[in-house]
């Protein structure tokens, strides 16, 4: 049996995640949805912490709550008329279909997994993850980082103003 604090924390965080996740698509204002999305991300990090996955929790805060949300802020600010009205969209049916697909996928995984195994206490996950990433799975890690580097360089190339362009226009 888990300690009561963990159980209480799990239900609080799960409620917060689901509630703010629901408010993400119920809010009419896009920025309000963004705020709820960040709360949802943060409580998700808390859920990871209750599973003693400290590295994943910190990565969740750092990448999703800290960076992805800033990316969305920039997307909202750079899109005309996007910030004031979260009105109905023509993409509602494709969105529903893809959301249903993802939900059924997660449900299938949850149904199919054998949850009866003994829960083991991890002292620290970050050392294990680091050794696996730079040992056994180093190739996948390098491929992912090279892909990200290509994306970065490609984005700079797309928006970079070449000399002949600026001379031609000015």
């Amino acid at each position: 049996m888990e300690s009561p604090g963990i159980v209480l924390g799990f239900y609080l965080l799960a409620g917060l995640t689901l509630g703010s996740g629901g408010l993400v698509f119920l809010a009419r204002n896009l920025l309000h949805s963004l705020a709820f999305l960040v709360i949802s991300f943060l409580s998700m990090a808390g859920l990871f912490l209750t599973l003693s996955a400290d590295f994943i929790a910190m990565a969740q805060i750092l990448i999703y709550a800290g960076s992805i949300s800033v990316l969305m802020v920039f997307a909202v600010m750079l899109t005309p008329l996007a910030s004031r009205d979260n009105s109905n969209s023509i993409y509602v049916f494709p969105a529903l279909i893809s959301a249903g697909g993802i939900a059924s996928f997660v449900a299938f995984i949850a149904w199919d997994t054998d949850w009866s195994g003994p829960g083991t206490d991890f002292d620290s996950t970050i050392g294990t993850i680091g050794q696996l990433l730079l040992g056994k799975y180093v190739l996948a890690f390098e491929i992912a980082s090279v892909l990200l580097l290509f994306a970065l360089v490609g984005a700079i190339m797309l928006v970079h103003q070449r000399d002949e362009d600026s001379e031609g226009t000015s």
């Binding site: 300690s3 009561p4 920025l31 400290d54 750092l62 709550a65 800033v70 802020v73 970050i126």
Partner: protein, 474 residues
């Protein structure tokens, strides 16, 4: 005293009595009391230190060097009491947590009352003024009076403001400023949450402040606010990279992401990391001033350009909270700087005599003094200069030096010589490498710039400013 100085300003400087002179000018009885207090403090600390070193106080709950022992004793007492297992477990978790949180909040809150006074007095000294000296002894109650004044002010909500998002940011910016303290070790066993992922936690928490700033700027429905918020976001996102890179160098050198382990590594090798990896320390210091919106990088709220930046529309205590969180962040950065680069709560063996938290508080105060000094000295950077400095200079040089540190850390594990030899060598390599790479990189960046003919301030010459200056000089 040299009263024949040429300008009124330098005469004023010469007439201005120094701190020591003014201290000796106090009444004799006050001096006597002060000396007695100092003597009593030294004697008491000496006795306690002797008892601690002699081993008579060691390991028991009243050992004052770290309050973790008190906590552990309290936990054991609760767990071994006659209570129900669940209730005892919950209490053993809750009571130390509440105690630690109270400690952190009172440290931050106490500093928020003393800090503004110290900063204003210090800057006044830099600018040959007096500073606040009316309210209370030495003007100490000035910040209290300011806070009361701010609370009495009317809260004005701008028309068209997003009422839902308008009230969240002044509170939300405090969350990272308080949460960041959780990972700081104050003494060997005295840390609120000494987690394995401490460095990641610090980076993750510091990235949360960006959103509160953006929401504050956006919901105010004001161009200055939005502009300030976007500037702040661009700056914070850019400067998170140098911070992460310099902390990565720390982690590579010490081989741990736990903050207490980093401090222990520095104390066992008797070296501060600022000596070993000076560029990382400087990059961290500079980038964190950008992260917390302090001069010379406070373009998010540059008064001369965009009023007050993202909190232009906030009034009363809400604006006060934004100003206060800036100060709280400054001491948090001071604590991080002390922990990562200045040896944390250790001081080459002094920590066996003096409680570690006093040493850490002293170091925090020193870093804070450095921040105030910078604020009193340097002008503000321009936005493009600031971003260019991050992207064109700090990040490339940090990456190159991080590679060097990575190679060194690989050698350090395998090389079988005394740590003093290898670490001394690495420190030399890092210092010279940082200087050489910085110089070479600046040469490459500015190879088109003609340094032989610097631009003269034409207007000043035209109106005779330089000539007048020459005449005054003699």
């Amino acid at each position: 005293m040299n009263l024949d100085s040429p300008t009124p300003m330098s005469r004023q400087i010469a007439e201005h009595s120094t701190l020591i002179e003014r201290f000796l000018g106090l009444p004799k009885i006050a001096l006597l009391i002060f000396v007695l207090l100092i003597a009593a403090l030294g004697l008491g600390n000496g006795i306690i230190g002797y008892l601690v070193v002699a081993g008579e106080l060691d390991g028991t709950w009243y050992d004052i060097r770290d309050l973790g022992n008190v906590n552990a004793a309290l936990r054991d007492a609760i767990l071994s009491s006659q209570l129900n297992t669940y209730i005892a477990g919950a209490l053993a978790y809750l009571i130390p947590a509440i105690l630690g949180a109270t400690g952190i909040v009172s440290v931050v809150g106490g500093w928020l009352l003393i800090g503004p006074w110290a900063e204003r007095r210090l800057i006044a000294k830099f600018q040959i003024r007096q500073g606040p000296n009316r309210t209370g002894p030495f003007g100490l109650f000035q910040s209290l009076a300011d806070a009361l004044k701010l609370m009495q002010k009317e809260i004005v909500i701008p028309t068209g403001a997003d009422r839902f998002l308008y009230f969240a940011p002044p509170v939300a910016v405090f969350i990272p400023a308080i949460l960041g303290w959780a990972a700081i070790p104050w003494a060997p066993k005295m840390s609120f949450a000494d987690m394995d992922v401490g460095v990641l936690f610090v980076i993750a928490i510091s990235s949360l402040g960006v959103l509160a700033v953006f929401v504050a700027g956006w919901s105010s429905n004001n161009h200055y606010s939005l502009l300030g918020a976007m500037r702040t976001i661009a700056m914070m996102v850019s400067y998170e990279i140098p911070i992460s890179l310099s902390l990565l160098a720390v982690v590579l050198m010490t081989g741990s992401t736990q903050l207490s382990e980093i401090v222990t590594w520095q104390s066992t090798h008797n070296v501060w990391l600022i000596v070993l990896i000076p560029f990382a320390a400087l990059a961290f210091l500079f980038a964190s001033t950008a992260e917390i919106n302090r001069t010379p990088n406070d373009i998010g709220e540059a008064e001369s350009e965009i009023v007050a930046g993202f909190y232009t529309e906030y009034s009363g205590m809400k604006a006060g909270l934004f100003m206060a969180v800036e100060l709280g962040n400054a001491i948090l950065v001071g604590a991080l700087m002390a922990t990562f680069f200045l040896g944390g709560y250790t001081m080459f063996g002094l920590e066996t005599w003096i409680p570690g938290y006093i040493i850490l508080a002293t170091k925090i105060g020193l870093v804070y003094f450095l921040f105030v000094w910078i604020r009193g000295t340097l002008p503000r950077f321009r936005l493009d200069q600031l971003m260019g400095f991050a992207w064109k200079f700090l990040i490339p040089v940090s990456i190159i030096l991080m590679f060097i540190v990575a190679i060194e850390s690989a050698i350090f594990i395998r090389w079988d010589v005394p740590a003093a030899v290898s670490l001394g060598l690495f420190g030399l390599i890092n210092v010279t490498g940082a200087v050489i790479i910085s110089v070479v990189w600046i040469r490459i960046l500015f190879k088109d710039l003609d340094l032989a003919a610097p631009e003269r301030p034409r207007l000043v010459t035209a109106v005779g400013g330089l000539k007048a200056a020459k005449e005054i000089r003699g």
